[in-house]
Symmetry: C2
Subunit: 209 residues, 2 copies
């Protein structure tokens, strides 16, 4: 409590996250975070190599937290609930959402677990097991579901779409993903394999055939 803080790294992340919430994804400083924790600015450098490193660590923490929320929702109520968790998070914490996926904040060296992408992936696998989704339609389906949910979440977070009641957002998420799953169920096989897309997270190849 006195000279040594004990967990300054985490405290700085907390302060930075709070500042992002107050001033927006870009308008915060390492100095202000240090001040808020009650420590000199230079102390931060024992925990993070630079402001950028702090930002990257914050992004990692925040995305992982989203992944956990999604996983919890999914394990109880399935894929659509995971999507709702994504959208609700964006609605509740728009500035942090904006920071989470900003290119400058991404740390290319860290594999996030559980990553939102992977949670969707796993839930789609479960739908195939349950016979709701055919193996053919399963191919690349993550890159239909993820963009849809991500788009709704960020349009809401950035204020381009507004919703009167947060509860309405849930119903809309359900419609969005429900429509996509219905469409997948009626999908005919393409003449060529679906194009191959990659998630940066795993750099795992999805799609192809």
């Amino acid at each position: 409590m006195a000279y040594h803080h004990g967990d300054l790294g985490t405290a700085l992340l907390d302060a930075a996250e709070e500042l992002v919430r107050e001033h927006g994804a870009a308008n915060w400083s390492l100095r202000e975070a240090s001040t808020r924790v009650g420590v000199s600015p230079s102390a931060a450098y024992h925990h993070f190599a630079s402001r950028d490193a702090l930002m990257q660590a914050l992004s990692v923490r925040v995305v992982a937290r989203l992944g956990e929320r999604m996983q919890a929702a999914a394990s109880e109520h399935g894929l659509i609930a995971a999507g709702s968790a994504y959208v609700r998070w964006a609605l509740e914490d728009p500035a942090v959402t904006a920071l989470a996926f900003t290119p400058e904040a991404r740390d290319p060296d860290v594999v996030i677990s559980p990553h939102p992408h992977d949670v969707i992936e796993a839930e789609l696998d479960r739908l195939v097991e349950d016979g709701v989704l055919s193996p053919q339609s399963r191919v690349g389906a993550t890159f239909l579901i993820w963009p849809a949910v991500h788009g709704l979440a960020t349009l809401l977070a950035d204020g381009l779409i507004k919703v009167e009641d947060p509860h309405d957002a849930d119903r809309h998420t359900e419609r969005l993903l429900g429509t996509l799953l219905t469409g997948l169920a009626h999908e005919s096989a393409p003449p060529n394999p679906w194009p191959t897309l990659h998630s940066v997270q795993t750099d795992r190849t999805v799609g192809g055939r």
Copy 2:
């Protein structure tokens, strides 16, 4: 050419856009833009009230340009082509894409025309006229299509999804929107009206019943 520039406002927008492209959506300055145009920093203040105002004007210009691209594609090849234009733009110009929709850059006093949201709206109306989409499913459909396309575009722009060949992105956009339209065609009426969402652009109410 000498003392009076002639069209300094536009030139500053061009320079700022170029800087965004080079350094990212947030890492550019009014001073650098002025220097690049060959003018003193204070000259900018005869055209924009502040750096923020310049940024807002840039966002307006860029979103309108996207709307025009979409409209051109739509008038030739319909809704899905408009979506592909959206995604291709994000792939070609990721940093500018990021700036375009950033909350700090949005000017609440300007109505953009044609706004991407409105282009989608108009194309969905056309699908109803052509009997492809039922009036029931038409309700609120913009808020399924727009998020889907926007999510794919921004995940690509932010580098969270990667594509080997830009042409693959087109095929994936087609699958995404095709699946959504198929799903809409098989949609059963909901027990309650769909939730009401608003676009900030028009603040027009869409949905309800």
